[in-house]
């Protein structure tokens, strides 16, 4: 089964900031696992540098962030910056955001490098499908 092994998608699920509400992050982690992906779960209260360093060491295709405190506009772009300093950019890695995120904020986050934002009510199957559809477009050379 070398074929599937080569294509194994690796995802980092992390929660930047100080809110401890990790239910959503864990549900998404579990759903992506059930979709056949390898999910590195790093837990709550991560700084942007910790997330970027974990993404670097684990060489993930996807970085999925969850914030439920409303600080997403502050925290999410800082994670993209910390990743950028390590050569991890939206060209080679898919950035996904999750949380209570108003539409106008989602637009701002897309400008900042997030290719998609998933809020309450999003279907986990749609998230997995989105990841599977967009990982092949990344520049992993």
């Amino acid at each position: 089964m070398t074929e599937t092994a080569v294509q194994q998608i690796r995802v980092l699920v992390a929660k930047p900031g100080l809110d401890g509400h990790d239910r959503g992050a864990k549900i998404v982690a579990r759903a992506l696992r059930d979709a056949g992906m390898e999910v590195i779960y790093t837990g709550i209260r991560q700084t942007p540098d910790m997330i970027a360093e974990a993404a670097l060491q684990e060489d993930v295709h996807v970085i999925a962030l969850s914030v439920l405190s409303g600080a997403h506009l502050e925290l999410f772009p800082r994670v993209v910056d910390a990743c950028g300093q390590r050569g991890i950019t939206p060209d080679n890695t898919l950035f996904l955001g999750g949380g209570i995120i108003p539409d106008e904020d989602a637009d701002v986050l897309q400008q900042a490098g997030f290719s998609a934002v998933f809020g309450p009510g999003a279907h986990t199957g749609d998230i997995a499908e989105y990841v599977r559809a967009h990982v092949p477009e990344l520049d992993r050379s």
Binding site: R33, G43, D59, I88
Partner: protein, 265 residues
């Protein structure tokens, strides 16, 4: 000629460049090489061939034990102890893949967050990808790459292991079995397999009731093992508080010295 440029002639331009970057300490290059090696990519095989002569220098320590015994926490504490001595550390943490979807949740990092900001600690999580012995098929190759990269100590944490997941003994020079009190009669079931491969027995959570009884039970079991020139020490620890970690490191050192002096390394 044994310099770096000579070794790289086995690789073509782009791979040679990546190898140079990796050997110069570029962690992103290391991460990418590990991905290729893990997935069986042809570039990974070429890299391994080029890097293999540089490996064989690192100390490898394996940690195994049942799920929830505290392997990740002990790994974290050992990494901190070796870093205090100025040694660089690589960690390979393996978690199980789903037998149905091949997906996995790799959660060992949750217990290691305090190591993230240290550039001399490199943690890689691996999914077992269907392997049955407590490691993944690529674990040994991943260890070789971290070794060639220049890590002084490599800690390998197996999937939660029961009785027969003994592959770690072949992959690591020193194997630590992490036990907990209150395993009760379960300890009897450990007679064969995993109990035989342990070079060091840690009794974690030893502030819980039953710790002394566990130590006695382990001693009794070990006394039945055939003499192999090394008596596995039993070290009570409380990993979440760092208690006993110094003694665990001493036990690792003693086993390392024994391997060197007996020529078994």
């Amino acid at each position: 000629m044994t310099d770096r440029a000579a070794a790289s002639t086995v690789l073509d331009g782009r791979l040679a460049e990546l190898e140079q970057r990796m050997l110069a300490g570029d962690r992103r290059a290391l991460a990418r090489v590990l991905s290729w090696v893990e997935s069986g990519d042809a570039r990974g095989r070429e890299m391994l061939r080029a890097l293999y002569p540089r490996s064989g220098r690192a100390r490898t320590i394996g940690l195994t034990g049942s799920p929830g015994a505290g392997k990740s926490t002990v790994t974290n504490e050992l990494a901190k102890a070796f870093r205090l001595r100025g040694q660089s550390v690589g960690i390979v943490a393996i978690d199980p893949s789903s037998p149905y979807t091949m997906g996995a949740i790799l959660g060992d990092r949750v217990r290691m967050t305090e190591l993230y900001s240290d550039p001399d600690v490199f943690i890689r999580s691996l999914a077992s990808r269907g392997a049955l012995g407590g490691l993944s098929a690529a674990t040994q190759d991943v260890i070789h790459v971290l070794d060639a990269y220049g890590k002084d100590v490599i800690l390998i944490e197996t999937v939660g292991a029961g009785q027969d997941e003994v592959d770690i003994a072949g992959a690591a020079q020193t194997t630590i079995l992490v036990n907990t009190p209150n395993m009760g009669d379960e300890v009897q079931t450990l007679k064969a397999g995993i109990m035989e491969i342990a070079d060091i027995l840690a009794v974690n959570k030893s502030d819980l009731p039953g710790a002394n009884r566990m130590v006695s039970a382990l001693k009794a079991l070990l006394s039945l093992n055939p003499d192999r020139g090394w008596d596995p020490p039993i070290v009570p620890i409380i990993a979440t508080q760092g208690d006993g970690i110094d003694r665990l490191v001493e036990a690792c050192d003693a086993h390392d010295e024994e391997l060197q002096s007996s020529g078994r390394l």
